[in-house]
């Protein structure tokens, strides 16, 4: 029983981290229509930044500087934001497809950089970081981390939801709908796209920091496109692009399916089990197809959210009169 609870808490922590990634992507794709398929790059940069800043001193790589956890998280947000700013300044003025190409390229460059620049990152042998708050609340790390994750997800969600509903979010959605019309409405499309791209990437970097501290160990293999980019896209599309709640629900559902299939294939005989790994990827692909055909707006659609908001406004107006 204790094992199951432990496993459930472990899973929820990961879902929280993926939820943050999906929230970051929702700003870029869901609201602004920026086609970033290099999520892994910003995730990885955040993770390694926080690892270097907070990890114990090591001969194998730069740092660690053993700084507090919050410094590491802040650093992760800053470095991934700077990377996004540089990439964005070059690509956001171009047509949408170029961002896609550039972002996937950046993700691969970052991954190879992490692998080969051992002085900075520990290379393929990875980076030991150690885990925070092992000794809180009776010393159950997973429980402590889960509480921490819930707090971080809540803060990120609230901030992004405020931003989405504000005129800021309205300009982003307008850019997604029609760039020329947004320009004709006097908005600097480039400036807003850049803000959306940087903010989304900062959030991804924050998710990276969470990931680093959750596992206490980093290696470049964790940032392969399948796990760190593609899965996040499936989560956002399945959950409901443009809807922050949808991003979180998508992370929950898709991660359960993803890890559920891992569990199921683990029950197969050994030779089948290894081959079934590819089948799981195929399964996620098929699932995405089914969602797009039967429920293209995702589980929780942007339109549904709007309807609820309008109903709320009507109620409020009703109370006033």
């Amino acid at each position: 029983m204790a094992g199951i609870i432990e496993y459930a808490m472990f899973t929820l922590c990961l879902i929280g981290i993926y939820g943050i990634l999906a929230l970051g992507l929702n700003i870029q794709w869901g609201l602004t229509g920026l086609f970033n398929i290099g999520v892994a790059a910003f995730f990885a940069v955040g993770a390694y930044t926080s690892g270097i800043l907070t990890g114990p001193p090591s001969e194998a790589h730069l740092g660690g500087f053993a700084m507090p956890l919050l410094v590491g998280m802040l650093g992760a947000i800053v470095t991934s934001g700077i990377l996004a700013l540089l990439v964005g300044l070059i690509t956001l003025n171009l047509r949408a497809d170029y961002l896609a190409i550039a972002s996937i390229g950046i993700a691969e460059i970052v991954r190879l950089f992490l692998k080969t620049e051992g002085w900075l990152t520990g290379g393929v042998r990875g980076m030991e970081i150690g885990r925070p708050f092992e000794d809180w609340l009776g010393g159950n790390f997973t429980l402590n981390f889960l509480i921490f994750t819930i707090i971080v997800v809540a803060i990120v969600y609230v901030l992004l939801e405020i931003a989405r509903r504000a005129p800021w979010g309205r300009v982003l959605r307008s850019i997604r709908e029609n760039e020329d019309a947004t320009m004709a409405a006097g908005k600097s499309v480039l400036a807003f796209r850049l803000q959306a791209f940087v903010l989304g990437s900062c959030v991804m970097g924050l998710a990276g920091a969470m990931y680093a501290h959750f596992f206490g160990f980093l290696s470049p293999e964790a940032f392969r496109p399948m796990l760190a980019t593609f899965l996040v896209w499936v989560m956002l599309i399945a959950g409901g692009s443009g809807n922050n709640k949808g991003a979180l629900i998508g992370a929950l559902v898709i991660w359960l399916i993803w890890s559920g299939t891992e569990f199921a294939t683990g029950l197969l005989p050994a030779d089948l089990s290894t081959r079934a790994g590819s089948l799981r990827i195929l399964l996620i692909g098929i699932l995405l197809e089914i969602i797009l055909v039967t429920r293209p707006e995702g589980l929780l659609s942007e339109a549904g959210e709007r309807k609820r908001q309008i109903a709320r406004e009507k109620r409020r107006a009703g109370e006033e009169t």
């Binding site: 405020i162 005129p167 800021w168 959605r173 019309a181 004709a184 600097s188």
Partner: protein, 260 residues
């Protein structure tokens, strides 16, 4: 108000606008007509900053704006609409309007997060203005509809409504009457005239519907082959043989005379 000075625009070997100069006088409703391919829309795009000219200058209120991006020209009071309805499809009619006003405090993330009171007050004002515009356009009943679901005519009205959300001085309308039924056309005409008289908006209108042009516009500028053919009141234009020639080709003027 707007001065077009020797604007030329070439696309490869094609000369779309050819050393074109014209003025749109302050307070006028200036019509711009001409056969398809005369360069009207290209010139519009250049005036509004959506296309860079190959050579020449655009002046707004005497100020050279040739190299300013569209949103800077917007700040100086120039607003445009599009020939193809360019509504924000997955946003409500109300949101389409509320987007437009410039310098909204909530467009800054810092304000959105840390000065919610100020943003809320600002939003309430923007919303009220948008509701007023919807009322003027008699579109209040569709305020919460997605703009993509509106009829073609309503989209056109919404587009004009967006210009009403601004402190615009000059409005460029690209075929406001295209694909609109008679009743709605009357409504659009009425709104344009009211904005001109009561709010002092200057209009420059591209239109193929001669009734709309005749009813609203003075002066009317005729363009062919990338430059101005002639300019005058609609009556003068109607009597001008060069214009008939440009529209209908050789012999049309003579035929029109024979009819008369």
């Amino acid at each position: 108000m707007i001065e077009v000075r020797n604007i030329t625009k070439t696309f490869g070997g094609l000369v779309a606008v050819d050393n074109c100069s014209l003025d749109v006088g302050a307070g006028t409703i200036t019509g711009m007509i001409g056969p398809n391919g005369a360069g009207k829309s290209t010139l519009f795009n250049i005036i509004a900053g959506f296309l860079p000219p190959s050579s020449g200058q655009i002046l707004l209120d005497g100020k050279d704006v040739t190299n300013l991006p569209p949103h800077k020209r917007f700040e100086l009071g120039m607003v445009r609409t599009f020939q193809v309805p360019s509504e924000l499809a997955r946003m409500t009619a109300l949101e389409n309007l509320m987007l437009v006003p410039g310098q909204q405090s909530g467009e800054s993330l810092i304000n959105a997060w840390f000065r919610p009171g100020r943003v809320r007050a600002d939003e309430a004002r923007t919303r009220q203005r948008a509701e007023e515009v919807l009322q003027t356009l008699e579109m209040t009943h569709v305020r919460n509809e997605l703009a993509g679901n509106l009829s073609g005519g309503q989209k056109k009205l919404l587009e004009i409504g967006r210009t009403m959300m601004t402190p615009a001085k000059v409005v460029l309308l690209d075929e406001p009457g295209a694909g609109v039924n008679r009743t709605l056309m009357g409504k659009i005409t009425e709104v344009i005239r009211r904005l001109n008289r009561e709010h002092g908006y200057t209009f420059c209108i591209i239109e193929h519907d001669m009734d709309l042009i005749a009813e609203l516009c003075d002066p009317v500028i005729v363009m062919t082959q990338g430059s101005v053919l002639t300019q005058g009141t609609m009556d003068e234009i109607r009597r001008n043989e060069d214009v008939l020639e440009a529209y209908f080709g050789g012999g049309a003027a003579a035929a029109a005379d024979a009819d008369a």
